[in-house]
Subunit: 157 residues, 2 copies
DNA sequence: TGTGAAAATTTCAAATG
DNA sequence: CATTTGAAATTTTCACA
């Protein structure tokens, strides 16, 4: 289920191109990698079915949607048992402010990436959705000054 | 440049649908929100030009690409001056292992999300690309057990 | 994997309210 | 002036070589 997949140079080149713009047409893709459009269709379909391609996503600007403040919350959940962390994860995932959630090693069990309208909204979020919870032992808030999405996630050619 | 944009309910519904699948056709989008496909084209174009839509991205599974270990590195850059942090940011962004980079408030200046092939690769990355640097005062590594991408980033309806 | 043709979609100019 | 119509251009998709 989580096995690495065999990818030939053509597959890699296709992924590289699609990472720059997921809307690149099969026709353009085909001419770029030197195969027929139908073969491209085939390959991309295979990459999707094999799980290498998880999905086509729209990247939105939170600031333009009124969420101009982003932050990372480090959260300790105690006791750290399945009965408690399952519901905790689900609640956090369901929050409209949540962008991403990580379960980590180390003293802080979870890291939550949130986007809010401002500091008041952030305070409300921390107090009402985190520290007020019995299982949340500690929350540490760090604001995000700036963030960068890094280049194509691809194995070296 | 970073102003919030006026979005009517139709725009929001379009964004909501495209967040679930960025490849939804204008035709399907149109029937779903109750307008003509050409108007959809127009609206999506406007959303792109206004900066709400930053791009169409492919989401890949790092594990299937041979990067089955992910981690977060907290990094202190000292002294924290522009002459040093500029090049630091650029170097980190250029690493093939980097997935995302955050500049944060708090004692740890940067958080780097990396995807590597295994612990040996992670050790090499930390030692050769971070702690060996004069400006890097401290690196704290936390492994990612599990991560979740959270639901559509959208203002409440 | 490629070819070629059919189906579907995108795109645009002109028309509409 | 945003929206729709309708038709042309392009792209996707599929059967078959």
């Amino acid at each position: 289920m989580s096995d690495s997949v065999v990818l030939d140079p053509v597959d890699l080149e296709i992924l590289r191109l699609l990472q720059n713009d997921a809307r690149t047409t099969y026709r353009d893709l085909a001419t770029a990698v030197g195969i027929a459009p139908s073969t491209c269709l085939d390959r991309v379909g295979r990459l999707r079915r094999s799980g290498v391609i998880l999905g086509h996503e729209l990247r939105l600007d939170p600031a333009r949607l009124g969420r101009s403040l982003e932050a990372l919350l480090s959260v300790q959940v105690r006791p750290h048992r399945r009965e408690l962390i399952g519901p905790f994860v689900e609640r956090v995932r369901a929050l409209p402010e949540s962008r991403a959630l990580f379960h980590l090693t180390g003293p802080d069990d979870y890291l939550v990436h949130v986007a809010v309208t401002g500091t008041a909204d952030l305070q409300r979020l921390v107090l009402d959705e985190f520290t007020s919870r019995r299982e949340v032992a500690r929350v540490e808030t760090r604001l995000i000054f700036q963030q960068w999405v890094c280049g194509p996630l691809l194995p070296p050619t």
